[in-house]
């Protein structure tokens, strides 16, 4: 058994699966392939898999059903490959307990980065983030809906966020009352989307404050911790 992280790659399309397996192998993963759900189950049983990369659209038992099975039987993180970027698929996929997803056509480089982030997270905490993207988070009169990527106020009016703002707020909402340094926040928000965040975290924070704080000059929700970073100073309820 090598010390390399073991990825199970499940996709019915050989034209994607094989070159992707090749690429991931080159990136320092041990890759086992499966062409359908049945093969995947067999390999799950045979090997100690660290991460599953799973195509949603497959003939026979589809990826979502398999994802649910994997989630029910263990703690192995899952990244979904999806052909559609429709919002509904996003919600459904994440409700199934996937850790992350990429939309086809994806950059293999980005996939590898995300795989590393998830593996590192799993190794560090042992306790895997429970489907970080799924559900809604309520704090200080706001509800952050991850499915629709919308921030909804008390009156039910949705306040659209830029991708950067959304990622930052989600990172904070997932770790309420924890102090997150700028580096941690960069690490948490980057790599989730194909976008590169050149602008400083400070800038995003001040923009977020203008949107969600009653008095942006005197923030009650996103507080600056001197010399440290930022923290979400509110109870977060997962809805």
């Amino acid at each position: 058994m090598s010390g390399l992280p073991h990825i199970l790659l499940i996709d019915d399309e050989r034209s994607i699966r094989e070159p992707l397996a090749q690429y991931l192998t080159k990136q320092g993963f041990r890759v086992t392939q499966a062409g359908d759900a049945e093969g995947a189950r067999a390999r799950m049983a045979a090997y100690a898999i660290d991460l599953v990369i799973l195509d949603i659209m497959m003939p026979g038992e589809d990826g979502l059903s398999l994802c649910r099975h994997i989630r029910a039987s263990g703690d192995v993180p899952v990244i979904l490959l999806t052909a559609k970027s429709e919002e509904t698929d996003r919600i459904v996929g994440l409700e199934m307990g996937a850790d992350d997803y990429v939309v086809k056509p994806f950059s293999p480089r980005e996939l590898a980065t995300r795989a590393k982030v998830i593996l590192r997270r799993a190794a560090a905490g042992g306790s895997r983030q429970h489907a970080p993207d799924s559900g809604s988070y309520a704090f200080g009169g706001w509800v952050l809906k991850t499915g629709e990527r919308a921030l909804v106020d008390r009156e039910g009016v949705s306040v659209p966020l830029s991708t950067g703002e959304y990622n930052l707020l989600l990172a904070l909402a997932l770790r309420p009352r924890q102090v997150l340094t700028r580096d941690q926040l960069l690490d948490l928000t980057q790599g989730r989307e194909a976008m590169a965040f050149d602008r400083a975290i400070d800038n995003q924070v001040s923009r977020l404050r203008r949107k969600i704080e009653a008095d942006p000059k005197n923030p009650e929700l996103i507080k600056t911790v001197w010399g440290g970073g930022y923290t979400l100073a509110a109870e977060v309820t997962r809805l």
Partner: protein, 458 residues
């Protein structure tokens, strides 16, 4: 013609009312004619008979009548039933309206009886309710005279004998008959019009429902078929409409499924290609290939969105439009694009946020692509909101501004082919904004560049 109602019950009611009115008018004409003939007969018959009787038995005397006659003052005309008596001069007061029909009738009757008549005068005289003579009359006759208010005076001149004068009751007004007829008409209207209105409404109501359903037909609405009601013909029509609706929805479903399949089938090889190019050693080449694939994917997204717009899956929600525009602008700025937007106050609108984001994004994307950057303005007014995206590019020749909304149009002459895009972006933005009840306008700015303005109703 504005007085005529346009709907079915109204038109039916007016038609039936008109027909009834014409029928009643004819009926009225006949009734009036009959009544007049009857009234004439009632005057002419008895009056002629009494005159004939008086002339033929000049000496027969009735003591009671004689006694009454003696009570008359010389200028008074005797009432009928009194035996007429001859007078030397014409006893008719001047200025009364004469009735030629009565005169003619009496002359004929007398001539038939062999009585020579040189002159017949018949005229109507008004009787005041307090006429002193009424007191001397039997009560029922006085009452009748008071009620009608008129009497008929008839004078006949017999050569050699002089004038015979008679009076008969005469109801000059046709009001009572009119009143009867009007009442009759109203009763008829009630009996005929109410069922007509009921029946036509029974037809019209389902028809209106059907019209509303046809007008408001939107594939995105998940409303069921229309309830079949009304008469059989209307039910059949509604059933046919429901079937048509089902077929259209099935076709749209089919279209969605097909587009989904196309999307999947094209994305898979695109994804395979995207994975494979990672093995290209040359960084520059690889980046260019990745960009091309991204662009193809973007186009594919646009095609799918445009085709699927008829049945948007996203619900309409309350959204802060200012934050929406700001978020789109911010996404561009995060990628280092020169896009400016002056933040404005919260602006609550009801729309589909993801689609509207896409419309605004497409406009800004065009401005960035062709104009090098964008300046975005959000201007709310009382009834509308304007989102304007300005660039400093070459603009569009005025005569071609209408074309750019057509899918797959790109203005090669003025825009650089190398920048890609097949003009779907604007068409998609236009379709999204129109679905939201708004409009997109393109104008060349006086100081250069293009201004794309989305107008949304508030």
């Amino acid at each position: 013609m504005k007085l005529l109602p346009r709907n079915l019950p109204g038109q039916m009611a007016v038609l039936v009312a008109l027909a009834l009115f014409v029928a009643q008018a004819i009926n009225f004409g006949f009734t009036l004619h009959d009544r007049q003939a009857f009234r004439l007969e009632q005057v002419v018959g008895p009056v002629s008979a009494r005159i004939i009787d008086a002339t033929q038995n000049p000496r027969a005397r009735d003591p009671v009548i004689d006694a009454r006659l003696s009570e008359l003052r010389p200028d008074e005309t005797p009432w009928d039933r009194f035996r007429p008596r001859p007078q030397a001069t014409n006893p008719m007061p001047a200025g009364l309206s004469r009735r030629a029909d009565v005169e003619h009738g009496i002359r004929r009757k007398l001539t038939e009886a062999g009585i020579a008549v040189s002159e017949v005068v018949a005229a109507i005289r008004h009787v005041a309710p307090d006429d002193p003579r009424l007191a001397r009359l039997p009560r029922y006759r006085a009452q009748r005279l008071r009620m009608t208010g008129t009497e008929m005076l008839i004078a006949i001149r017999q050569p050699g004998t002089g004038w015979w004068v008679q009076s008969a009751s005469w109801d000059d007004s046709d009001w009572s008959i009119m009143r009867g007829l009007i009442l009759q008409t109203l009763v008829l209207y009630a009996i005929v019009l109410l069922p007509v209105l009921w029946a036509t409404r029974r037809i019209a109501r389902p028809l209106r429902t059907l019209t509303n359903a046809a007008e408001g037909f939107h594939p995105a609405d998940q409303q069921g078929p229309i309830e079949e009601s009304g008469p059989h013909d209307v039910r059949t029509l509604i059933a046919a409409f429901n079937q048509l609706r089902t077929r259209v929805l099935a076709m749209l479903d089919e279209k969605d499924r097909m587009l989904g399949a196309i999307g999947h089938d094209l994305r898979t090889p695109l994804a395979a290609l995207r994975v494979r190019i990672e093995s290209v050693e040359d960084d520059d080449d690889r980046t260019k290939m990745a960009d091309t694939i991204d662009e193809m994917n973007g186009t594919l997204d646009d095609i799918l969105s445009l085709a699927r717009l008829g049945r948007p899956s996203e619900p309409v929600t309350e959204v802060d439009l200012a934050a929406l525009v700001d978020a789109v602008v911010e996404d561009f700025r995060d990628l280092g694009k020169p896009v400016e937007f002056a933040e404005v106050d919260r602006l609550k609108m009801r729309l589909r946020p993801s689609l509207m984001r896409r419309a605004v994004r497409n406009l800004i994307e065009n401005a960035v692509k062709y104009g090098g950057g964008a300046e975005v303005f959000l201007r709310p007014s009382a009834h509308a909101v304007e989102i304007t995206v300005c660039d400093n590019g070459p603009g569009i020749p005025p005569e071609r501004i209408g074309e750019v909304f057509e899918a797959f149009t790109r203005l090669e002459s003025s825009r650089n082919k190398g920048t890609g895009g097949i003009g779907l972006g604007l068409a998609l933005a236009n379709a999204i904004v129109r679905e939201a009840g708004g409009d997109i306008r393109l104008t060349n700015r006086p100081d250069g560049g293009l201004a794309a303005t989305i107008t949304l109703p508030r």
